[in-house]
C-alpha cells in the first residue's frame, strides 16, 4: 500500500464520522471541509508519527502540510523518504 493510500485509509475510517460516502481524492481539502479539525489533527499526527516513524514538530506543523492527502504524503516522504508498497 502506498503512503497516500495508508493516509487515505486512516482519514476515511478514523476522521470521518460514519465513514466516507464519496471516496476521498488526494487533493480534497481536508481542513476547509472540516474533516481535520482541532481533534482530528491530534489523531492524525499520532497516526503519522507512529506509522511512519517520523517526528513532526515546529515549522512542519503548519496547516498547509495537512491540507490534503497529497500534501500530508509529501511531508512524510520529505521527512524520511518512506514508501511502503505491499
Amino acid at each position: 500500500m502506498s503512503v497516500n493510500e495508508m493516509i487515505k485509509q486512516f482519514i476515511s475510517s478514523e476522521l470521518i464520522p460514519e465513514g466516507s460516502e464519496v471516496p476521498l481524492t488526494d487533493t480534497d481539502h481536508l481542513i476547509d471541509s472540516g474533516i481535520i479539525d482541532s481533534f482530528g489533527i491530534m489523531s492524525l499526527l499520532g497516526f503519522l508519527e507512529e506509522k511512519f516513524s517520523v517526528q513532526i514538530s515546529g515549522d512542519d506543523l503548519i496547516p498547509e502540510n495537512f491540507e490534503s492527502i497529497a500534501t500530508i504524503s509529501a511531508l512524510i516522504l520529505e521527512k524520511n523518504g518512506y514508501q511502503l508498497e505491499v
Binding site: 475510517s13 478514523e14 481542513i31 476547509d32 471541509s33 472540516g34 481535520i36 479539525d37 482541532s38 481533534f39 482530528g40 489533527i41 491530534m42 489523531s43 499526527l45 499520532g46 508519527e49 517526528q55 514538530s57 515546529g58 515549522d59 506543523l61 503548519i62 496547516p63 498547509e64 495537512f66 491540507e67
Partner: protein, 381 residues
C-alpha cells in the same frame, strides 16, 4: 523501565523543597484579603531559576530536560502552599515553551531571557467571553494592514493577564478558513496603544493568581510579533496543550502529596471513641485513595513528560493526565477537609484553601468533559 529519579532530579527536588519552605512562607491569607500578587515570592523563584529550567542556556535557561522540570514543579506544588503563585510560574514556563517551540530566532532572543529571569511576566490568551471549551471558535481578529496586524476583540480569565508585560494572543487572521488554518498567534506587549488590561476578577480560590480580561481595540502590532507562521495558531494551541496538561498536573501531584501527608499526621493524632480516627476504616480508606491516586498520577505525569521530552506526541497521555490528576486533586482536598472535621473547615488549618484552589483544576487547560471528549475521539469514537 526505571521509575527512580536520577541523582540530579533528587537533588533538584530537595533543593526546591528546602527553598520553598524557607523562602515562600509568605502569609497567603493577607494576599487573599487584599487581592495582590506576591511579587517578592515571584522574584525569589526567578532567582532560584525555576522559570528558567527547561530553556537552553543560550537564552539564560538551565537546559534541564522536561521530565526534570516536571519533577521541579511537583516539588514546588508540594512545598509551596501558594497554589496561585505556582500556577503563575507554570504559566510563565508554558509561554516560554511556546516561544521556544514556535518562535523565530529574533523572538526567542528577545523574550526567552526575560522569561527565564522572571523580569517580565507572560500570559497566554485564548479564552473569550463567548468561547471557552470551543476555543477555536474565537471572535478576536488580527487583520493585516501593511506591515502590521490590527487586533480587535477581548479575552477573558487570563492567568497573569492583569500584570503581564507580554501576552501570547490567539486571534483569527483568516475568517474564510476553518479554525485550524485561520487562527494565528502573536505577542502583544503591555503599553501597546489599544491594549487594555482590566483589573483582576475576584475568585473562589487561587487568589494570588491574577486573572482578568484583556481588551484589544485597534491594537496595532508589527508583523514580526507573529509567533510561528500565519494560520499556525490552531496547531500551536493543540501542541501547547500537551505541555500544559503535563506541567500543571505535576504541581497538583505535589499538592496532593502535601495534603495527604497533613491528613495522615492529623488522623494519627486525633482521637475519637478512645482510638485514633485513622484506625477507623472509613477514614483510612480516604487516605488510601489519596495515596493510590498520587502513585497513579505520578506514573501518567512522568510518562507524558518523558514523551514530550523525547519530542514525541502525547495527546492521549496528556489528556488522561490532566483529567485524572485534576479530579484526584479535587477529591483529595475534599476528603482532607472531611477527615479534619470542623478544623478542616476553618481557615486556620489551611486545608479549606487547598480545596478552593483545587476546584479550578478541572476547568482550566480544558475542562474534565473536554478531556473525556478528546480521549474518546483519540480512541476513534
Amino acid at each position: 523501565m526505571d521509575f527512580r529519579l536520577t541523582e540530579e532530579q533528587v537533588s533538584l527536588r530537595e533543593s526546591i523543597i528546602r527553598f520553598a519552605r524557607s523562602e515562600l512562607s509568605h502569609d497567603i491569607r493577607s494576599f487573599e484579603t487584599n487581592g495582590s500578587f506576591p511579587w517578592d515570592a515571584w522574584r525569589k523563584c526567578a532567582e532560584m531559576q525555576i522559570m528558567a529550567l527547561p530553556f537552553p542556556e543560550r537564552y539564560g535557561g538551565c537546559g534541564a530536560d522536561f521530565l526534570s522540570t516536571v519533577h521541579a514543579m511537583q516539588a514546588l506544588g508540594y512545598a509551596c502552599r501558594d497554589a496561585g503563585l505556582v500556577h503563575a510560574i507554570g504559566t510563565q514556563i508554558l509561554c516560554g515553551l511556546q516561544i521556544l517551540l514556535f518562535g523565530g530566532e529574533e523572538i526567542k532572543d528577545k523574550y526567552l531571557p526575560l522569561i527565564c529571569r522572571g523580569e517580565k511576566v507572560f500570559a497566554q490568551a485564548i479564552t473569550e467571553p463567548a468561547s471557552g471549551s470551543d476555543a477555536l471558535s474565537m471572535a478576536t481578529r488580527a487583520e493585516r494592514q501593511g506591515e502590521s496586524y490590527v487586533i480587535n476583540g477581548s479575552k477573558i480569565f487570563i492567568s497573569n493577564g492583569p500584570i503581564a508585560d507580554a501576552v501570547i494572543v490567539f486571534a483569527v487572521t483568516n475568517s474564510e478558513k476553518k479554525a485550524l488554518g485561520g487562527i494565528s498567534c502573536c505577542i502583544v506587549e503591555k503599553g501597546t496603544p489599544g491594549f487594555k488590561q482590566c483589573k483582576p476578577f475576584e475568585k473562589m480560590g487561587l487568589t494570588t493568581l491574577l486573572n482578568g480580561e484583556l481588551v484589544f481595540e485597534n491594537c496595532m502590532i508589527p508583523l514580526e510579533r507573529m509567533l510561528g507562521k500565519e494560520g499556525q495558531g490552531g496547531i500551536i494551541f493543540s501542541e501547547s496543550m500537551e505541555w500544559e496538561r503535563t506541567l500543571l498536573p505535576a504541581a497538583h501531584i505535589g499538592t496532593m502529596e502535601r495534603v495527604c501527608e497533613t491528613s495522615v499526621k492529623y488522623v494519627k493524632e486525633r482521637s475519637a471513641f478512645g482510638k485514633s480516627i485513622g484506625s477507623y476504616q472509613s477514614v483510612a480508606n480516604k487516605i488510601a485513595d489519596m495515596k493510590m491516586n498520587i502513585e497513579l498520577g505520578k506514573l501518567i505525569v512522568w510518562k507524558a513528560a518523558m514523551l514530550k521530552g523525547q519530542g514525541k506526541r502525547a495527546s492521549l497521555e496528556s489528556s488522561v493526565c490532566k483529567l485524572f490528576v485534576s479530579e484526584s486533586l479535587k477529591k483529595a482536598c475534599l476528603d482532607a477537609v472531611q477527615v479534619h472535621g470542623g478544623y478542616g473547615y476553618m481557615t486556620e488549618y489551611e486545608i479549606e484553601r487547598d480545596l478552593r484552589d483545587s476546584i479550578a483544576s478541572t476547568i482550566y487547560s480544558g475542562t474534565t468533559e473536554m478531556q473525556q471528549n478528546i480521549i474518546s475521539r483519540l480512541m476513534g469514537l
